[in-house]
Amino acid sequence: MALVKTLANLKSVQILTNKLAALSVVQQNGMSMYPPYYINPIFKKDAQVELFENGEAQKLAHIPTKAALIDQTCSIYYDDDIRLFRNYIMRSGRKSLARELLDKAFEKVKRSQLEKFHKAKTEEDKNKIVLDPREVFHMAVDNCKPVLFLTPIKRGGVKYQVPVPITEKKSQFLSMKWLIEAATDKERTVHFPEKLAYELIDASNNTGRVVKRKQDLHRQCEANRAYAHYRWS
């Protein structure tokens, strides 16, 4: 009897240690207030419906889940990229201000696009103009994404700027960052939303300062292409 008990104990201990080992391997969750076995919340309505339909919801029902973030809503206008962009605009935690600025920028985009729309004479020209500011935003971010970037690598005491491929996430970050930097670089009399709207429209048409900045980076990469094999070895 005692033997069985100790065996069982042993087994449970083993399982626990296995689990812990597996967890420590998968991720270290840094400063997170949640233990690593908490799963991310599913807050979008259609995703929830899908879960209920294919029965996944039953499985997830008893797994501890993180709370959704304050700006993750089930609104039909929720967009992950826009949420990210808004957080990049934010300075010292003033999220309501960031939201206001971005909304105003979108309004400006829409107004100037509508103005163009009403000015356009032929149906063909009218169809070309994108009126949805969110779509303009996505187009702008896509157009500003670099495909390469330069990283300094030391070889024989000399630092070389080596072109390396870029991950999707980083390229998106750079694109958004450049858009915001271009919008903050302005005269004092111009407001941020106005400038941002201008930059977004420009970038969505594949012109403007941010697209030029991306092209400059590519140009530099091209000039340094001889160092490409100097990557981490």
Partner: protein, 379 residues
């Protein structure tokens, strides 16, 4: 979906030309082609009508449409107003008024952004169409809280003039009433002595008084006062029908203004020269006229915006001044009005159609017209 079904049903039974007509009216349910407010009836309620550009220029070139809506009209490339219950009610009442009886006073009230000013604009359009002489003040708060310049009055010692704003208003009045002012019957009933050399004589046309105020800005405030008195007298005599339309009327009774004397003391509105004239034309002791006023929280300072009810906003003095009046509530959009508004926005490409959009936006805005406009701006 509905549209498709109706098309199919219609296609089966009706001849082609009638079918086309039906489809057109069906898809344009939120619009009416009737651009004359006097023909608007309850069947047009919640529909948009377009104000022709020339009328818009005449009526609202110097204010009258709130700033935020003005920007909207630019983006939409047209000026449209929704026909709503409050303005329809007032227009219906005005139609059946006996003008020989003392003046009726309508007071529009409602929460911030519920559409009081636009209801007033609709009524003013009606006034223009029916040939009223329009005494329209676009926004009293502009005078009491954001006046451009103030000086002690020469003609009325103890009073303060706001001459630049008064002159602006005279220009506004002149452009608005271009259709009536050509009438030669409108003559002044008393002498106005401005200074030793300048005076406007009895029997001169009312336009002379206005012109004098515009060219000699120094006397603009007194001109406004004189003009109000003259119009009152002329209406009493039956020379003209008058419509008084004042937005933010409670501004005349709100004690805190930003008008100061030369000693930097705050001037109560009763000491501002123009106030007297407009208080005079909102009294009941004349006829051949109708008053449409709005009371608005925004005309008072932020700390005093506690209620939107006329009794609170007008105060004891103002309430007694207007008593008895006809209160007209301007409420949030009804469901029908809301869908009509969203349809209009979609037609103007202001918002992109998306499933479940209407429910969400109506929930977020609480069906408040101004809030809805703001929320839709960023979408």
């Amino acid at each position: 979906m509905l549209k498709v079904v109706s098309k199919e049903v219609l296609g089966a039974r009706l001849p082609k030309n009638i079918r086309a007509l039906c489809v057109a009216t069906h898809s344009q349910k939120f619009r009416t082609s009737e651009d004359k407010p006097s023909y608007h009836s309850s069947s047009n309620s919640a529909q948009y009508y377009k104000i022709p550009q020339d009328i818009r220029n005449q009526l609202f070139a110097h204010g009258g449409i709130p700033k935020s809506y003005n920007i909207q009209t630019k983006s939409f490339a047209e000026t449209c107003l929704m026909v709503r219950e409050p303005s329809l009610d007032i227009i219906n009442c005005i139609k059946s008024i006996d003008y020989s009886k003392p003046v009726n006073r309508f007071v529009l009230y409602g929460k911030k952004g519920s559409g009081k000013s636009l209801a007033l604009a609709h009524v003013v359009h009606y006034g223009l169409e029916t040939g009223h002489l329009i005494l329209h003040v676009p926004w009293v708060g502009q005078w009491m809280r954001y006046c451009k310049e103030y000086s002690n009055s020469e003609l009325k010692p103890g009073n303060v003039d706001i001459n630049l704003d008064a002159a602006n208003w005279l220009v506004h009045f002149k452009t608005q009433n271009a259709h009536v002012l050509s009438n030669a019957d409108l003559v002044i009933g008393q002498d106005y002595v401005w200074s030793k050399r300048e005076k406007t004589q009895k029997g001169a046309h009312i336009l002379e008084l206005i012109e004098h105020g515009i060219s000699r800005v120094k006397y603009a405030s007194s001109c406004v006062l004189g003009l109000c008195m003259e119009i009152k007298e002329l209406s009493k005599k039956g020379k003209c029908k008058t419509m008084v339309a004042i937005d933010g009327y409670n501004g005349f009774f709100y004690p805190k203004t930003r008008v100061y004397t030369e000693k930097k003391e705050m001037v109560p509105p009763s000491k501002v020269t123009v106030t007297e004239g407009f208080l005079e034309v909102t009294k009941f002791d004349w006829n051949n006229a109708v008053c449409v006023l709005t009371v608005d929280e925004i005309a008072s300072a932020k700390e005093d915006q506690l209620s939107h009810m006329p009794k609170y906003l007008l105060g004891k003095e103002g309430f007694e001044h207007l008593d008895p009046f006809i209160p007209v509530a301007v409420n949030e959009y009804t469901d029908k009005e809301f869908t009509s508004c969203m349809e209009y926005y979609r037609e103007r490409k202001w918002v992109q159609p998306a499933p479940g959009q209407d429910e969400e936006l109506s929930f977020l805005s609480g069906s408040n017209p101004y809030k809805l406009m703001q929320i839709c701006a960023g979408l």
